[in-house]
Structures are given as structure tokens and as C-alpha cells.
């Protein structure tokens, strides 16, 4: 029951890219087509689940002081794995995603979940958490990709849509269109959820967030305080 909750929270309540505003770079960069969004989402979900499993298994072995480099190496290992898999079995997607496939390593969602969830929980909840977050991320990428492809190219999964394909609004597949669509989607999500717009951006996913508690000014204070103690 609680495991089910871990899955659904990632999809709606704590959707990583639309509510928590993590992993903005791939959200904007690869979503020129709906299929790209799905491909990127699938790759990220795979890495997220695998790294969550390994990190929650190793949580008692990894020393606290060097945990971030350890997490990053685990994540980078799985990213290399998915790169190989995609190169072998899904060549066209491998070429389209290009460098952003390697950049999954530094996606704040994965490091954020490792730090906030997997390093504190057992294996099964960690898998569910990874699955939920991954699905939420995939869904929002798919949404972005669909909107941009339909409006910008007049196609959906490369099948032309009547009228729109004759008059495509090319601006939507340019970088400017990406920022615009994401801004509108987040505004709509704000409206539906009827909540105060988030002031801070992606502090939850920042690896040093545990030091500052998600507060920029505190972030500076904590950075200075160890120095004072040393004196």
C-alpha cells in the first residue's frame, strides 16, 4: 500500500520537472518531438531505478563524508550502460539524444533522489520511488514534446496532422519555444494546484541542500560557520 503511494507521489504530487523544477536541462533540450521525450524519459527512468537499488543496498557501506562522489560514480556507471544498450538496440534515438544521454549523469533528479530517498530507505520503497519519479519525468517530457511537435512541426510521432502540417509554427521547436511552452505548462500546473508559485528553484535536488535546508542565505552561513569553529 505504502509502496503504491511512493509510485503515485512522483507522478502527480511531487512531479520532478513540473512541480519540483528539477532536471530542467533535458526537459527543455530534447523535447522537440514527442518520441524524443519518451526516449529520454525511458533512459532516465532506467538509470534512476538502477541507481536507487544500488545506493539503497550500499547505504551502510558508503562513508558519509564521501557519499556524493560515490553516488555520482554509481550513476555514471549506469549511464554508460544505457548508452551501450541504446547504441546497440535503438540507434536512431541514440543519435538524436546525443550528448544529453551522457548528461543524465548530472541530472539533478537522480542525484536528488539518491540523496533524499535511496540513501535512507530500504530497497523496495527505493525501487518504487525511482519508478514513480521516472514515470512523472517521462510524462512531463512527453507532454512537452507533444505540444512542441504538434504546434511546431504539425506532426505527432512524425505522422502529419491535417491543416497544422501545412502551417507549422516553427518557433515552437526553436529554443525560445521550449522556454515558452515550459513556462506556460508550469503556470497552468500552478493554477490547477492552486498553490503559491515556488520561490526557490531546484534547491531540493541540490546536493548541498542538506547543508543549507533549501535556503540561499543559510547556504552562505553554513559555508562560513565551519571556518569559525576552526578558529
Amino acid at each position: 500500500m505504502s509502496n503504491l503511494k511512493e509510485i503515485t507521489k512522483g507522478i502527480i504530487k511531487e512531479n520532478p520537472s513540473l512541480v519540483m523544477l528539477l532536471g530542467m536541462c533535458p526537459t527543455l533540450a530534447v523535447t522537440t518531438q514527442a518520441a524524443n521525450g519518451l526516449g529520454m524519459g525511458a533512459a532516465t527512468t532506467f538509470v534512476l531505478i538502477c541507481s536507487n537499488i544500488v545506493i539503497s543496498l550500499l547505504k551502510n557501506i558508503i562513508p558519509k563524508a564521501v557519499r556524493l562522489p560515490c553516488f555520482i560514480v554509481v550513476i555514471a556507471g549506469f549511464v554508460t550502460l544505457i548508452e551501450f544498450l541504446m547504441k546497440a538496440y535503438w540507434q536512431p534515438m541514440y543519435k538524436t539524444l546525443g550528448i544529453f544521454l551522457s548528461l543524465i549523469t548530472v541530472n539533478c533528479i537522480i542525484l536528488g533522489r539518491a540523496e533524499a530517498f535511496a540513501s535512507k530507505n530500504k530497497v523496495l520503497p527505493s525501487i518504487c520511488d525511482g519508478l514513480g519519479m521516472g514515470l512523472g519525468f517521462t510524462l512531463s517530457l512527453f507532454l512537452m514534446g507533444s505540444i512542441r511537435e504538434i504546434l511546431g512541426a504539425g506532426t505527432f510521432f512524425e505522422k502529419p496532422i491535417p491543416f497544422l502540417s501545412e502551417n507549422p509554427m516553427t518557433i515552437f521547436i526553436t529554443p525560445a519555444g521550449g522556454f515558452f511552452v515550459l513556462g506556460i505548462i508550469i503556470a497552468v500546473v500552478n493554477k490547477i494546484a492552486n498553490r503559491k508559485p515556488p520561490e526557490k528553484i531546484s534547491c531540493e535536488g541540490c546536493p548541498s541542500a542538506s547543508l543549507c535546508g533549501g535556503d540561499k542565505t543559510k547556504c552562505e552561513q553554513t559555508k562560513q560557520s565551519p571556518e569559525k569553529e576552526a578558529k
Partner: protein
């Protein structure tokens, strides 16, 4: 390709933030104040240059032992270690510079722009000098985008916008318009 073209292309035509979408998190997070932008920009340029200088020989080594596929793991580990090292050294020997840059350094480890630029350098087969110039241009491009955008953002903060757009959505729409102005540079070099 001449060094000048690489530099200009990295700063304007292929601006890392506004046309390649790397380093969006610091772009949206830090661009509230002009001073912070300069600090963050300086830290990014510095780390990018050093990371490029370090990862270039490492890639050559990996090539020699036929292990290019390890580049992502090797690069991110080197960058993370290097950032930690710089933080410790600055704290010990240059406290004034540490105070200016210190806050931004840990944020840079997970900045995809740094890993992105080192991977782009080896993927496009640049020589050592070309890689350094490309990293310098990318870093300057990042700083330019941050500075321009902080000016735009200052005006948004003081204007009357619909409730649902306050905060991040308005920032993203403004970023869209800023990005549109940078598309004017595309096609400068064919």
C-alpha cells in the same frame, strides 16, 4: 577551424544556455542579482578551463587503452574531485577569493554545462588549444547570458503580472524572449 571562429561561435551562435540548454538550473537560480552573476560566471569559466585542461590528457590515455566508453565516469569523477580540491585550496590560501566564489563552487559540480563542454570537446575532435578556446568561449557565453538575463529579471520583479505566472513561469517566458534574440546569431557561420 580557426580559433576566432570557435570563440565567437561558442559565445553567441551556440550559446550554451540559450541555444543548447545546458546549465539551466544556475541560469534560473542565480540570475536574480547582477553581483552573483559575475561571481558565478567567473567560477564557471575557471572550472571549465581547468576541467578541460585536465580531461584532455585523460581522454588521450583512455583512447590508448581502448576505453573511450569510460569517459563519462572518468570526467565526472575528475570534475567533482577538482572542484573539491579548488575549494580547499582557495579556503586555505586565498580567503578573499574563496568568499567571493566559495558559495558557487559546490553548485558547479552538478552543473551539466561543465561536463557538457568537456564531452563536446572530445566528441568534436578538437586539439588541446581548440578545446581550451572553446571552453573559454562557452564560459563567457554563460556569463553573458546570465548578465543579460539578470537585467531582464530585475524588470519582471517590479511589474504587475497575473498570479499564476508569478515566479518561475514568468522567468521562463522572459528567458524565451531572451533566447529568441540569440537566434539572430544563428547562421553566422555556415
Amino acid at each position: 577551424m580557426s580559433l576566432g571562429i570557435i570563440l565567437v561561435s561558442a559565445i553567441f551562435v551556440n550559446n550554451i544556455v540559450l541555444s543548447q540548454f545546458m546549465g539551466i538550473c544556475p541560469f534560473l537560480g542565480v540570475s536574480k542579482k547582477m553581483n552573483n552573476c559575475v561571481g558565478m560566471g567567473a567560477a564557471v569559466i575557471f572550472v571549465m578551463l581547468c576541467a578541460t585542461a585536465i580531461t584532455f590528457p585523460i581522454y588521450k590515455l583512455l583512447e590508448k587503452i581502448n576505453a573511450e566508453y569510460l569517459k563519462t565516469v572518468a570526467f565526472i569523477l575528475v570534475i567533482a574531485m577538482f572542484v573539491q580540491l579548488v575549494e580547499i585550496i582557495l579556503k586555505k590560501f586565498m580567503p578573499s577569493l574563496y568568499d567571493a566564489l566559495g558559495v558557487y563552487l559546490p553548485l558547479i559540480t552538478t552543473n551539466c554545462a561543465v561536463l557538457g563542454v568537456t564531452l563536446t570537446n572530445v566528441d568534436s575532435g578538437y586539439t588541446f588549444l581548440q578545446s581550451i578556446v572553446n571552453s573559454l568561449g562557452t564560459g563567457i557565453g554563460f556569463t553573458v547570458a546570465l548578465l543579460i538575463f539578470s537585467g531582464v529579471r530585475y524588470r519582471i520583479e517590479n511589474s504587475d503580472i497575473p498570479e499564476m505566472f508569478k515566479g518561475v513561469p514568468a522567468t521562463l517566458v522572459a528567458a524565451s524572449i531572451t533566447a529568441m534574440s540569440f537566434t539572430g546569431f544563428s547562421g553566422m557561420f555556415s
